[in-house]
Structure formats: structure tokens, C-alpha cells
Symmetry: C2
Subunit: 434 residues, 2 copies
């Protein structure tokens, strides 16, 4: 494709959706990607830029002049434009903003850059269709024609009073169905959901998902209408959130992809491996501490991996359920009743597994009665303890305002491993009296 | 609240959004919930029913007559109606459908019930706004007024030819902005995305997320327009998908919540614990097989938990990255280069961890040189093997058409545990020559 046959390539690419072109560019090398981008008209390229993989976009932007970036940004909605500018190094940000020709767009982008990227303000777009309560339906339709051309998608029409305060919304459907001479104030839906500009994006996502909203207006503390957030941005937030939780549960500390460099992957993976390592060394100390006694009962050593694996698995299960419940707001404050439930759950699971292990250890490994008893009592205790720890730690972290998702995966596995082995030896000491 | 003060309660609840009422009802007992539902008008209650937690909805529906359910269903969009009916036991389904008065609605629901719930057909709604290419903008607006009253939200207007085949779409914005006398055929956007009725919902979600769509038309093999899927349904699909993957990674085999009964939670959790148990017993057999030799080198036993934990952690990390890459379509077919990368990644991580363990084991636990060497070589080997297995298994399962997410969490942990311990003893045997 890359043999310099420009016009043909141009014709070919015009047929594609920008999201598809972005996907193709992600696969090309930098020179080729920049070459293709310069070939296309700026409306398409700005959309492509928006869709590109973050790492590649950074490189492409580096090879464009500030003037060229300003031109791209000019074509985008204010929220996408602000996102792209925010990725630039500080000194280039200013240069790009200064070269944006549309003064209104420039002001909007500058405003959006002031908000925290995890707040509603950081996600919202300034483009929206706004009408005043005193207008008539016919006048409204006329004005909307003007406003709507700038807005990619009209979800709702927001109704404000003369102080620019949000008082309600209209759907385009309501407008189309309503009679021309009616006043907006008569048909406005005053029960409008809105979020504060400083609200956390995860909270915004929850609200939009709960009420099945496609767009939500963003207001400041005085209820002045500032912008709107649309569902497609929220879909991205939800995806990132789910990926982050998933990676945390798997012990990956920063957002990496399979195609990142070995160095980046190591940086994301080594921290948890080190914590696991210290856990393993802790376990070694425990075994070392009991080593003399253990030589008298070598059969017990065989079951260390079983105790350890079970403790880890139970802990991960319990914590995952709690973390998910916390994410969905279905877990309320009653810690005590929840722990009681985990206690019984652990007891049921523990009894089931201990019964099977009892039979196998006794008949296959020919452990003595006391040894078998030790193994089973330890298993049940460890399962209950792991379930309680797995439940308690995320709730505790959540109450302290820490993201409970960090308490899943390797964290819970490691602590339960060490704790489980310790309990095992403690119970062995009591039953076997060494 | 529940003291029989009906009118007051009614007044109070009218102020709430149905999603909030549903949340309150989730907390009440069954009698109270049914009582409240009978108090409210059927338009609100049908929306509440839709939002209720599945378990509670099932109980509420059981205490309503088929006539009452039919009335509720009558108020809902065809997709939500079909979903609720699909949850009923077979014999009640028929009875409810027969009592739906609106013949068109009845036919639509019956059609939707025939599709697989994981297909586009199972997710789509029949309600949409459809216009023929031969109409004018003014005529179109007139007809849309009629159709739109039945449709909760008008996203796009779909344009069909006289054989009912989809040829394009219009946004309401296009219609409002266009001149009255224009023909639809002149303003239609023919580059319309659509999905086949048999397409898997996860694929639909990917397409809608990629192209930032808010609604997508669903067609049959002849491109006849059958229905449409809106983004709010996709948000639910994405949430469920993310939750399912997360739970699989945590070793939970069926969709459970923190508030489910102990029996349900045990059913979801015990299977993986049993697999972990058999893994632990496998590890016990391996240790047993090497037991005589091990008594000569008791220091090696201390490091079993370390080897096991590290193998598990590395495996989970590798598999999680691959599974996420597969979900996002960023992992392509080149298995060999990916395995090579994991090999080097494992080598880097392994060397780092082995170096620390070498120092600690030698100075703190006073292991001999050969013992320390054994531990370090085993650690590096195990880390590399675990990384390779964690990468290979998900890709292999995916190529076989099996959901790679099952290969994460306890599955990879357990197999790596056992394998890791086996490698450890094998290397010990080679180096220490027992």
C-alpha cells in the first residue's frame, strides 16, 4: 500500500470509517502513519487522532507542528480537543492553544483543561443545545437549527432560565411532537438529572448507568449549566475502570498491554512479585522456626502447598465478591452480619474439602489419625480465616477511602499464604504437642 | 413507612425516579415490595419491575397474576417485556402472552422470545422510527410524530426502501436542519453500521464501542430491518461481561452477589476450591515422592511456599494480560514472538527476584552454596515456565473457540503451583545429586 501511490490510497481510505483507519495506523510504523495522516483532510485526521492508541498518538503529535495540531484540534469537539492537548508536554500546550483560530473554541478548551481529568469537568464537552424557558417551540426549533450544526449529536435540549441556571430538559422528540406555539416552560421536563462539575467520573458513570441516561448536564455549585457528558465517554470510562480492576486483581500495578515493552511490563509486574517473594520468605521463616518439630512429622510438610493454595483461593474469591459488591453499591455497612455469613460459608466449604482430604491423606498417604486430624482442622480454620480476611480487608479499605480493588489478587493471596501456614503449624503444635 | 398510610406513601413515591424505587424495594421484604408495587400506577411499576434485582423480580412476579403481569408488560418496550417474560416458567409465559391486549406488541414480544438471549436478536427492541426513502422531509416529520410517541427515545431514524430493506439512517438533527421539501433519499446517510440478528452480543458491544454508536439497527440475512439495539442495553452487557471475567479470574464459576444465599455462594465457589485441593494433593504426592532425599536437605522444604507463590503470581499476571488483549482484539496470532517476549520478561523478573532470594537465603537461613544455587535456578526456571504457560494457555483456548477467561485465576494458579513444585525438585535432584 505504501508505495507512494497517493491518490489511489486517498480514494481507498475515504471509504473507511475513521475508527478503522486508526486501527490500521496503529499497526504501521511512525513515518507511514504520519504520511497517511498528512494525506487525509483535517476533519478525518482529527477523528483518527482521537481514536489512535495513546502511545502512537503521542509519537504522531510529536512529529506534527503546533500549527498542524491546532488545525486538527479545531475540528474536534471541545472535550476531545482538550484531551489531546492535555497529553502534550506543558510548553507545547500553550503554543497549540494560542494558534487555535476560533476564539470561542479556544476559551472552551482552556476552561476544560482546568478541570481534573477524573472529574465530571474533565470529561464533559462544552457543545450542547441550550434554550431559554421563555422561548416558544417554533422559535426554539429555529434557534436549534443554528446551534445543532456545531454539536455532533443532539441528545437532549437543556432548558435554562435567564441566569443560565439549569431548570430542565427537553428531548428532540418532545420538540417534534409539541405544537409550535407552545412555550418551552410548558413542555420542559423539570425532573432532570445533573452532576456537579467536581463529581468523580466513576460516580457519573454509576448515575448514568442506573438511570439509563444517554447524556447528562454538568453544572457548577450554583446550578449554572457548564457542559454535558455523553454516554460514549462513559462507556470508555467503564471499560478503563473494569480493566484497571481486572489488572489489579491479577497483580499488575500500572495500565499495560500485551504489546508494551519488556521494561514497561517489568515495571508493572515486578512490584507484586516482590511482595509475593517477601511473603514466601516469611513462610520460609515460619517453617524454619518449626523445623525441628517438623522433622518428627514429615507427613505434615507434604500438605503445606495444599494449605497455602486453599488459603489463597478462598481469599481471592471472598475479596472479589466484596470488591464487586462495593463497585455496584450492593454491599452496605453491616460488616458484622457479612463476616458471620462468610464464617458459615467458610465452615461449609471447609467441611466439604476437609472430608475429602481426610480420606485421601489417611488412605493414600497413610498419615496417622492425629496427623489427619491436624490437617483437617487446619484446613477448616484456614478457609474460615481466609474468607474473613478476604471480606474484611476490602470493606475496611473502602471505609478508609482507599480503592478496595488493590486488596484483591496477589495482595490477599500473599497475606493468606503466610497466615495460613502459620495457623497450620500452630494447630499442629496444639494437636501433636511438639 | 410501611404503616398503611397509603396516600401519603403514594405521594412520596411519585417524586422518586423508578430506579430509586427499585433500589428501595430491593431492600424490603417480599410482602412489602408487592404491596408498594400494587399501590403505584402500572407505568411506574413496569419500569420498576425492569430495574429490580433479578432474584427479587422473580419473587414479585410469582406473587402477581398472569393478568397483572400482562398489564405491566404492556407498558414496557418490547425488549424489556420479552426479557421479563423469558424469566417466567414456561407454562406462565404462554398465559401472560395470551393476555396482552395490544396485538402488535404481542407479536413483537413473541418474535423476540424466539431469539437466543446472547444474540443481537435477544437484545434488540422492535420500537424504532422508520421512514421510506421516497418520502419528503415534511411528510417524514409528520409521520415521525406518530411513530415517535411509542418509542421511548429516538436515536436515529432508519431509512428503508419499499422492500423494508435498510438503506441508511438519518439523525433527528439532520431532519430538523433539512429543508421541508427535500426528499429523504437526498439527505439519507448511506454509510450506516448494522448488525445481523444472529450476531453475538459481545461482538455488537465491540462494534458500538468502537464506532461510538448510540443505537444500531438489526437486520436479517436479507438486510430487512428487524429492530434496533440502544447503547443503554450495551452498557449492561459490558458490565455483565466485565463482572463475569472478573469473577472467573477470582475462581467464581457462576454469577453471584455478596447478598446471595450461602448455598448459592457455595455452589459458585466450591468447584474451584476442589480443583485447588486436587492441585494441593498433587503437590503432596510430589513431595512424598522425593521425601527421603528431602530429609537430607531440609532447607529446601522451607522454600516450597516461595516457589509456589511465585509460580502462581507470574502465571496470573501473564494470563491476565493476554486475556485482556484477546478481549480488546489487540493480541494477534503471532504466538511464537509473544512466547519469546514472555521468556525474556520471565528471565528479567526471575534474575531480579533470584538475586534477592540468594542473599537472604544464604545469610539469613544459612543455606549451603549448592542449596542456594538450587533455589535460585529453580526460581528463574519456574518464573519463565509460569510466564510461558500463562501466555500460551489463554491463546490456545481462544484459538479453540473457548472463552480464554476461564484460564485465569485459580486454574492457572493451581497448575503452576503443582508444576512449579515439580520443577523445583527436579532441579534440586540435578544440582544436589540425590
Amino acid at each position: 500500500v505504501e508505495q507512494g501511490n497517493d491518490t489511489e490510497l486517498q480514494k481507498l481510505l475515504v471509504e473507511f470509517h475513521y475508527a478503522d483507519i486508526a486501527e490500521i495506523l496503529d499497526e504501521l510504523n511512525l513515518d507511514q502513519a504520519v504520511y497517511v495522516i498528512k494525506l487525509l483532510d483535517s476533519e478525518t485526521t482529527s477523528d483518527i487522532l482521537k481514536e489512535l492508541d495513546e502511545g502512537i498518538r503521542e509519537k504522531v503529535l510529536r512529529s506534527l507542528s503546533t500549527k498542524e495540531i491546532a488545525e486538527e484540534v479545531e475540528e474536534l469537539d471541545s472535550d476531545d480537543a482538550a484531551d489531546i492537548i492535555a497529553e502534550l508536554p506543558e510548553e507545547r500546550q500553550q503554543a497549540v492553544i494560542e494558534q487555535i483560530e476560533d476564539e470561542e473554541h479556544k476559551a472552551e478548551i482552556t476552561e476544560l483543561l482546568t478541570y481534573d481529568e477524573d472529574s465530571a469537568g474533565g470529561l464533559m464537552a462544552k457543545e450542547l443545545v441550550k434554550v431559554y424557558e421563555t422561548w416558544t417551540v417554533a422559535g426554539c426549533m429555529r434557534r436549534i437549527r443554528g446551534q445543532a450544526e456545531e454539536v455532533t449529536r443532539v441528545h437532549s435540549v437543556y432548558v435554562v432560565n435567564k441566569e443560565e441556571k439549569l431548570i430542565g430538559r427537553l428531548s428532540l422528540k418532545d420538540l417534534i411532537v409539541a405544537k409550535n406555539e407552545k412555550k418551552i416552560a410548558d413542555i420542559v421536563k423539570v425532573n432532570v438529572d445533573y452532576v456537579n462539575v467536581n463529581e468523580n467520573v466513576e460516580e457519573v458513570a454509576k448515575i448514568m448507568a442506573k438511570y439509563d441516561l444517554e447524556a447528562i448536564p454538568v453544572v457548577d455549585d450554583n446550578k449554572t449549566l457548564l457542559g454535558r457528558i455523553t454516554i460514549d465517554d462513559i462507556v470508555d470510562v467503564m471499560k478503563e475502570e473494569a480493566e484497571k480492576d481486572y489488572q489489579l486483581a491479577a497483580g499488575i500495578t500500572s495500565d499495560v498491554e500485551a504489546d508494551d515493552s519488556i521494561l514497561e511490563l517489568t515495571k508493572a509486574r515486578l512490584p507484586w512479585l516482590l511482595i509475593g517473594m517477601f511473603g514466601g520468605i516469611g513462610a520460609a521463616s515460619i517453617i524454619n522456626g518449626f523445623s525441628d518439630a517438623m522433622l518428627k512429622f514429615p507427613a505434615l510438610l507434604m500438605f503445606i502447598p495444599l494449605i497455602q493454595a486453599t488459603a489463597g483461593n478462598v481469599g481471592v474469591q471472598s475479596s472479589a465478591i466484596v470488591v464487586q459488591g462495593l463497585t455496584n453499591n450492593t454491599v452496605d455497612g453491616k460488616i458484622l452480619s457479612r463476616l458471620l455469613k462468610e464464617f458459615f460459608l467458610g465452615l461449609v466449604n471447609g467441611l466439604a474439602i476437609a472430608a475429602i482430604v481426610l480420606v485421601i491423606s489417611h488412605f493414600v498417604f497413610e498419615t496417622s489419625y492425629l496427623e489427619s486430624l491436624t490437617i483437617c482442622v487446619a484446613l477448616i480454620t484456614v478457609i474460615i480465616m481466609a474468607a474473613l480476611i478476604g471480606t474484611f480487608v476490602p470493606i475496611f479499605l473502602d471505609k478508609r477511602g482507599i480503592d478496595a480493588a488493590v486488596a484483591t489478587g496477589p495482595f490477599i493471596t500473599t497475606s493468606n499464604d503466610v497466615f495460613g501456614i502459620f495457623i497450620y503449624f500452630l494447630i499442629a503444635k496444639m494437636i501433636l504437642q511438639f
